[in-house]
């Protein structure tokens, strides 16, 4: 079939489409991470509450479930926007490659179904089902959340490592959907993402209770509210560093141009140093701290390892270095910091079975959730901007995928406005929940007002 070639969009419209996609994704991902991590926290608290009869756990479970009701709803609708945008903004991608990357999305559809169904049951049948059965209905929620994250990142990994199809005269043939889904980037990228989700949810929830404790509320409810999610996140943090390190090593041969952009490395060679910090100005990495042979050692464990630089990449195919480099630096710095924060608690617990005494521990925990979100976003900037100018790595340019219709920037303005309002509203509503009486999650205004 001919007729699917785009006439070019204006550069302004292309920029608008990219920004709109980035904002919508960056917004959705935060809620998605809470959607992956919070059910596990709530179900665990509910289970402990039943086992021990400890009222603090019961209250925490209800509180988290109620917050989940709000967060999931907004996560689901913001995800729907993304499905629309895949077609509305990137019809060139979907027309040519929709069938190749469709399978993980089809699977994801079923994960969403399970998630939405059991969310309805978990929240609204809190007092209708026997307690044990009710807890069990939370488990599909946990599994489906992780599964959705897995499937959607499979699709993204395919954009980095496109496999499972042949191109004949610009047309896609012989599609092998399973090979596309399980491409070389899939294992590490999906694991890294799922771990990130637990870090965001864990540190994020713990941060809320750290603020409470800083304000002097130190009873059991707040302590457990901090310790339970914090422990989950702190256990995840070191694993995340190991996986992230493997991911970077994978880039060295999987997407060397991206690694070169991450490091701002101009010249291919051996004995390549590692640049920490710094800015890429006029084609040079400046003000960076250099660790001699560092990059060569990280990539191949030997100083003589050859690392490919930007000189091997045609100028038109280079990603912008600064966002990729700085994004990566921020992610690694925060990842290391969060690991140390977790270790601090670990040491204090080992010595005294208690939280560290310093108020600085609470202060840092209070901001750890925000820090994890920043690591998450900067990690995605590294991945997505580092892939530019390709939307499908070395197969399709972003400029060829965008909707050629004029006026896309209007969509960007509207979407920005909507997300600003929504962000404010979520903050407001979550704060409302914080100060409200704790009730079972199915109860709301309809129960408050007398019949």
């Amino acid at each position: 079939m001919g007729g699917l070639l785009a006439t070019a969009a204006t550069p302004a419209d292309l920029m608008a489409a990219r920004l709109q996609m980035a904002v919508s994704l960056g917004w959705h991902i935060v809620l998605a991470c809470l959607g992956v991590g919070m059910p596990a926290l709530a179900v665990f608290a509910e289970w402990r509450g039943h086992r021990t009869g400890d009222e603090a756990y019961v209250r925490l479970a209800r509180r988290w479930a109620k917050a989940m009701g709000v967060l999931f709803a907004v996560g689901a609708v913001s995800g729907t926007i993304l499905s629309f945008e895949m077609g509305v903004l990137w019809p060139g991608l979907m027309a040519t490659y929709g069938q190749v990357l469709g399978l993980p999305f089809a699977l994801e559809g079923f994960a969403f179904f399970i998630e939405a169904i059991f969310l309805g049951i978990y929240l609204y049948a809190w007092d209708r089902l026997p307690p044990r059965l009710h807890m069990l209905t939370g488990l599909p929620l946990c599994v489906a959340g992780v599964a959705s994250a897995f499937f959607v990142v499979c699709a993204n990994a395919w954009m980095n490592q496109p496999r499972g199809f042949d191109l004949v005269g610009g047309r896609v043939t012989r599609v092998r959907p399973w090979a596309a889904m399980f491409n070389p980037a899939t294992p590490l990228q999906t694991i890294h993402m799922i771990l990130a989700a637990f870090m965001v949810a864990g540190f994020g929830v713990a941060g809320v209770y750290a603020v409470g404790m800083l304000r002097g509320r130190r009873e059991r409810y707040h302590r457990i509210g901090l310790l339970l999610p914090f422990t989950v996140a702190a256990i995840t943090a070191p694993v995340q560093i190991v996986v992230g390190d493997s991911l970077a090593r994978f880039l060295a041969h999987g997407q060397p141009a991206k690694l070169a952009a991450i490091e701002g490395l101009n010249h291919t060679g051996s004995h390549i140093g590692l640049s920490i910090g710094g800015l890429y100005i006029d084609g040079q990495m400046r003000y960076a701290i250099r660790i001699p042979d560092g990059l060569s050692l990280l990539v191949g464990y030997r100083p003589s390892t050859v690392v490919q630089g930007l000189d091997r990449v045609p100028v038109a195919d280079r990603a912008p270095v600064n966002p990729v480099h700085l994004g990566f630096q921020a992610m690694v710095a925060i990842g290391t910091g969060l690991f140390l924060l977790g270790a601090w608690l670990g040491v204090a617990w080992w010595r005294r079975r208690d939280l560290p005494r310093s108020r600085w521990f609470l202060r840092l925990t209070a901001v750890s959730g925000v820090a994890a979100v920043i690591a998450l976003e900067t990690g995605w900037v590294t991945t997505e901007v580092g892939r530019q100018p390709w939307i499908v790595w070395q197969h399709q340019r972003t400029a060829d995928a965008v909707n050629p219709a004029p006026g896309l920037w209007v969509g960007l303005v509207v979407v920005l406005a909507v997300y600003v309002v929504l962000t404010v509203a979520i903050g407001y509503v979550l704060n409302l929940l914080r100060t409200q009486q704790i009730t079972a999650p199915q109860e709301g205004w309809a129960e408050v007002y007398p019949p």
Binding site: G102, I117, Y124, V415, Y449
Partner: protein, 343 residues
């Protein structure tokens, strides 16, 4: 039958379920808007809240299912529709986000002004979203979305007589479905007065929507002759079935047979969608892109079909459980987790 045909049928079944279940949830928002002042409308709004609350997210996923099925199995068609109709689709997306968010926010609120604000957002977006979805359907059905990226008229493709007709009908249909469903919910909850109120609304919207649909016949004849020919030709039996089911559900509403009304009301709406599909089959987009032209390669179709079949094995029992769980008479809450506790 080929895999592509099976997948088209499955997608259309998904679309039908979205129209019926998701549609009724939008209709709930419509009636929420018209329920009147805070005190007078309380009982109605509470009924809507209880009926829609547990199920709307699951009902909403049908839309995502349809989108994903189309982009995987008929990628060129998906890309053509999404690029030409990007304006109404963006509006639909915004409506969806406003609807879901406002509904969830309202649930977490207790102050009157918050309820008003979020309730207003919920109600407004519940009307606008089906309208724009209808205009999208009208644009495709009247042959205004050619194959190719943004090849159609960016405005005329969705702002035309057929689209506007379809948009208005979509709003009417969702309101009608919601009234029919809520009537039964109200009676099961023992709220006879409320059931009567929704019965009157159901009858009213049925009459209005029916008249618009009749008038629409003339619009289609001049504005979308190909669709008109299909609807009055091959698809005529289904169109007649829809009309009969519509009349039947009015009779059942009058006779207060609310359980049966649900079935006939759903049938009337589903028949419209299938009538459209049959009228147009096998052409998906003009000029002559058919199902077999647009279909993805066989390996993709087979993998998707297998996924859908396996997925249904998980999905159907879960979904049935969800619906039966909340369709049972609400038991007096038996607090398992201890009484409500203060923070």
């Amino acid at each position: 039958m080929t895999a592509a045909q099976w997948l088209l049928i499955l997608s259309w079944a998904g679309l039908t379920l979205y129209a019926l279940l998701g549609g009724a949830d939008f209709g709930g928002g419509f009636w929420d808007a018209l329920a009147g002042g805070a005190r007078r409308g309380l009982a109605q709004r509470r009924l809507i809240e209880h009926s829609v609350g547990p199920v709307w997210e699951a009902n909403h996923v049908w839309l995502i299912f349809v989108i994903v099925m189309f982009w995987t199995c008929f990628p060129g068609v998906f890309a053509s529709v999404a690029s030409t109709l990007y304006i109404p689709l963006t509006l639909v997306a915004l409506g969806i986000i406003a609807r879901g968010a406002a509904f969830a926010f309202r649930k977490a609120s207790t102050e009157l002004w918050q309820l008003r604000l979020f309730g207003g957002g919920f109600a407004l977006s519940s009307v606008l979203t089906p309208f724009f979805l209808g205009t999208v359907a009208g644009g495709v059905a009247s042959g205004r979305v050619p194959y190719g990226l943004a090849k159609g008229d960016l405005v005329g493709s969705w702002w035309n007589p057929t689209s506007i007709l379809a948009g208005v009908l979509a709003v009417g249909t969702t309101a009608y479905l919601a009234a029919a469903f809520l009537t039964a919910d109200a009676r099961r909850g023992g709220q006879i007065q409320l059931a009567d109120a929704f019965r009157r609304r159901g009858l009213g919207t049925a009459v209005v929507t029916g008249i618009i649909a009749l008038g629409g016949i003339f619009i289609l004849r001049s504005d979308a002759p190909a669709l008109y020919a299909g609807l009055t030709g091959r698809a005529l039996p289904i169109v007649v079935l829809s009309a009969l089911a519509g009349l039947g559900s009015m009779a059942l509403l009058i006779a207060r047979r609310y359980g049966l009304t649900r079935i006939t009301a759903a049938l009337a709406v589903a028949a419209v969608l299938w009538g459209w599909a049959i009228a147009q089959y096998p052409v998906m987009l003009p000029p002559h892109v058919t199902v077999s032209d647009a279909a993805a390669t066989p390996a993709v179709l087979h993998a998707t079909l297998a996924t859908v079949i396996v997925g249904m094995v998980l999905l159907v029992p879960s979904l049935l459980w969800l619906f039966t769980l909340f369709q049972r008479t609400p038991q007096p809450a038996q607090p398992n987790n201890g009484p409500a506790v203060t923070p």
